[in-house]
Amino acid sequence: MKEEGGLKGSSQFSRRGFLKIFSVSLAAISGLILGIPALDALISPALKSKLTSFSKAGKIASIPEGSPARLTVASSSKDAYLNDTEMHNVWAIKKSDSDIEVFSPICPHLGCSYNWNPQNNQFECPCHGSVFNENGKVVSGPAPRGLDTLPTKIEDGELYVEWEKYQLGVNKKIKI
């Protein structure tokens, strides 16, 4: 292995040429082996869509039937390695144990928090006077669309709500 270099002109040249090709291609393959994972590590997390998840809102049995109930939902958001838990109030209208509608507490007009007025049986927004009925439909005021419903699911007698936000001031419900 050591001294075969010799002094034979042409065979030495071809041997060296061969070593050159071999060295360069092995180096290139090694580069790819490290390069592809490196690119993957940088690119694919950036393209991943953010996962949302359902948070527990309470036992179905404890939600009163008929009039809207204010529930607290702890939505935990994960931004890379930062975990954050936000508490949100949502409005739940229980028609039966399997039929529960949950409204986002944000008025679709300009984002104020509205309230339930039990005397008039309607939701009223204090900011600009939008009024919604108990199904979330606009009764009066400047709101461009009805109240936004949030995705829900029911498991083992517990209500789960997925916290989402929607674009304000437009007549279609567009998730942001």
């Binding site: 061969f18 050159k20 071999f22 060295s23 180096a27 082996i33 890379a80 930062l82």
Partner: protein, 646 residues
């Protein structure tokens, strides 16, 4: 076209001369694999540089996010395991290969005139590499790194006169904290690498100026080899072996998760990085006032010896068999370092300031207050003594009955020693050490045990009977035992911080054996009786209830976190034992809880640090690249032989 571009470039910068300077080099005696160590060092440096920069894309150098951000890279980022694994093992490879490189230069006598400066530059590079190893180890801000940095900076503090000044400047303050991490971070990613790159260039220029030294036997020196491609080909082969080895280590022996740094946790035994172990071990020979010999004296002497070597060993003889003083001395020092490293690796104790966790107990001579007796009685139940010991007819039968401690002649001192560490009286005792109890709690417990009127409740007989029945029946521990317990309703039903921390199962076992073993048994399999509860025994954690189990480590950890944080009260008339709210009562720190969670997960076959986004499974990745290299090697081997035949 390419020629024209090449010429155009070369008219402006001398690229081809630079290349020629780097590549065209005659090697006296021909190329050799043993000469590849220098290039191998450079290769590992490049791997460290690339993987280090990639880690920076995800790492956050703050004490509250460093550990989580690194684990995010390792678990949630595709090939994050590979990036961190290569960097971690690359650091080890660096020290090993640099040492071998130095050893080869030493044996070949390659530091002699005119190459003294090449050697000195190399020694400086070696010291800089050690600096990288020291600062880098602290960056994850995990237990390992934190304590290694703690001990390391303390060693700086033993320097005569300037010690405290040095320590505080390195730490950025009198104690370890955010500023320490910031300093280590900047040193590791900017200052030291910058200096290293500068010195590598100088080292290479100095090397090229005088070329390879070649064999010491004159007879072997007349055949010449070429650096490019002869030596580079061998360098590439060695490089591939190193690369494969690093990937294999990252795959089959990934860096451990040692849990986030917890300055309050005295149960962690700090050990330095392996490359400093010989010093750590040497320190043990210099106790007390002599310590400075080990911390400052020995390292200074070693560095001076390395730096002065070319000036001490000046004659022209390069044959190692003819340098009868220098070579054996050098090899003895190397052997000493290796032996000390191995001894340090195997030793378990810490040096210098021993941090024994057992609190010093002050003995009060006065009579026990009724309040102490009452609190002691509560403790007897809440910390789980009653699970194993009966008193006045109530409690378990695993340990001896404790109704007659006064008659047995037990003193307060004896009992406290027994409770803190039962092995102090009987080395075969299976009683777990209750070393976490405070002095006041120990006094209360002893007050209760030494008061003859420590009556149990009225329904004792009944409960004992129930316990007996259960243990006699040898109830199969069904996984739903714990479904009888409900989470303490006074507490918020949410998981704590610990659930999102990636703890260390290994350290979790240590903590489990201290805090949990009394009720849950060794390895969580114990069926410790819990008189008065419906289940009759403390929930078994191995295997754990199906209600809490989840294959997703994060959800699993969250489930058990609720119980550890907020405690639980078993269903039943009057359960003797209940789960304490270790988090709410701050009996354990969040870091410690995360370690215990990792341990409980591991008992149930779930790895807390399971890789969620591997990019490609580590084993498949390793198999793939190993087969690629094997395939390419085969192709070239065949081509080579075909060419030879022509």
């Amino acid at each position: 076209m390419s020629k024209r571009v090449w010429n155009w470039i070369n008219e402006r910068i001398p690229l081809s001369s630079i290349l020629r300077m780097g590549m065209d080099e005659e090697i006296p005696g021909g190329s050799r694999f043993s000469y590849a160590l220098g290039s191998a060092t450079l290769l590992v440096f490049l791997i460290q540089l690339i993987t280090g920069v990639l880690e920076l894309f995800y790492y956050a150098p703050t004490i509250d996010h460093a550990y989580d951000s690194l684990n995010f890279l390792r678990v949630d980022v595709p090939f994050g395991w590979l990036i961190h694994g290569l960097h971690y093992w690359g650091a080890t490879a660096m020290i090993v290969i640099v040492s071998l490189h130095m050893l080869r230069v030493f044996i070949w006598g390659a530091y002699k005139n005119p190459r003294q400066l090449t050697w000195i530059l190399g020694v400086i590079l070696f010291l800089l590499a050690l600096g990288m190893s020291f600062t880098g180890a602290a960056l994850p801000w995990d237990q390992r790194g934190y304590w290694a940095a703690q001990v390391g900076t303390n060693i700086g503090g033993t320097f005569p006169f300037l010690g405290n000044f040095i320590k505080q400047v390195i730490r950025g303050g009198s104690s370890m904290g955010q500023l320490t991490l910031s300093r280590f971070f900047i040193l590791h990613v900017a200052v030291i690498p910058g200096i290293i790159i500068m010195f590598i260039i100088l080292h290479l220029v100095a090397f090229r100026k005088h070329g390879s030294v070649g064999p010491w036997e004159e007879g072997k020196r007349n055949i010449n080899g070429q650096f490019w491609p002869d030596q580079i080909f061998k360098d590439v082969l060695i490089a591939i072996i190193i690369l494969l080895a690093l990937v294999a280590l990252s795959t089959f022996s990934p860096p451990p998760f040692s849990g986030p740094a917890d300055p309050m946790d005295s149960s962690y035994v700090p050990k330095p990085e392996w490359n400093f172990l010989f010093l750590y071990q040497a320190l043990k020979f210099f106790p007390g006032g002599l310590e400075v010999i080990g911390t400052v004296g020995i390292p200074t002497i070693l560095v001076l010896l390395l730096l002065l070597l070319p000036f001490v060993d000046k004659n022209k003889i390069r044959d190692p068999f003819k340098r009868l003083i220098v070579v054996p001395t050098g090899l003895i020092i190397v052997a000493g370092v290796i032996i000390l490293t191995i001894a340090g690796y195997q030793s378990g104790e810490s040096t210098g300031s021993n941090q024994k966790s057992s609190a010093k107990v002050t003995i009060h001579k006065e009579n026990f207050s009724s309040n102490d007796i009452r609190l002691g009685k509560q403790l007897f139940t809440s910390i789980g003594c009653i699970g194993c010991h009966s008193i006045m007819g109530t409690g378990g039968t695993v340990g001896p009955d404790l109704s007659n401690e006064v008659q047995k002649g037990r003193t307060k001192e004896w009992l406290i020693a027994q409770i803190q560490d039962s092995k102090s009286h009987n080395p075969t005792s299976i009683m777990p050490p209750f070393s976490f109890l405070k002095v006041s709690q120990l006094n209360q417990l002893v007050a209760f045990l030494l008061t003859p009127s420590n009556m149990g409740s009225g329904s004792t007989q009944q409960i004992t009977a129930a316990t007996k029945a259960n243990s006699d029946n040898n109830l199969p521990v069904s996984s739903d035992t714990s479904s009888h317990s409900k989470i303490d309703s006074t507490n918020p039903q949410s998981a704590g911080l610990a659930a999102s921390i990636l703890g260390s199962a290994e350290h979790g076992k240590v903590l489990f054996d201290k805090n949990c073993i009394a009720c849950h048994g060794k390895n969580g399999v114990g069926k410790i009786p819990n008189p008065g509860s419906v289940a009759g025994i403390v929930p078994v954690l191995n295997p754990i209830s199906k209600r809490l189990y989840n294959p997703d480590p994060e959800i699993f950890a969250k489930n058990i976190d609720m119980v550890i944080q907020h405690g639980a009260l078993p269903n039943g008339i009057n359960p003797a034992l209940k789960m304490e709210a270790f988090g709410d009562q701050q009996a354990l720190s969040q870091q410690q809880i995360s370690d215990i969670e990792a341990y409980i997960l591991s008992l149930n076959g779930i790895e807390r640090g399971m890789i969620k986004e591997p990019g490609m499974k580590p084993v498949s990745f390793f198999t793939l690249i190993a087969s690629i290299f094997a395939g390419v090697g085969l192709i070239f081997l065949v081509a080579w032989n075909l060419k030879k035949k022509k």
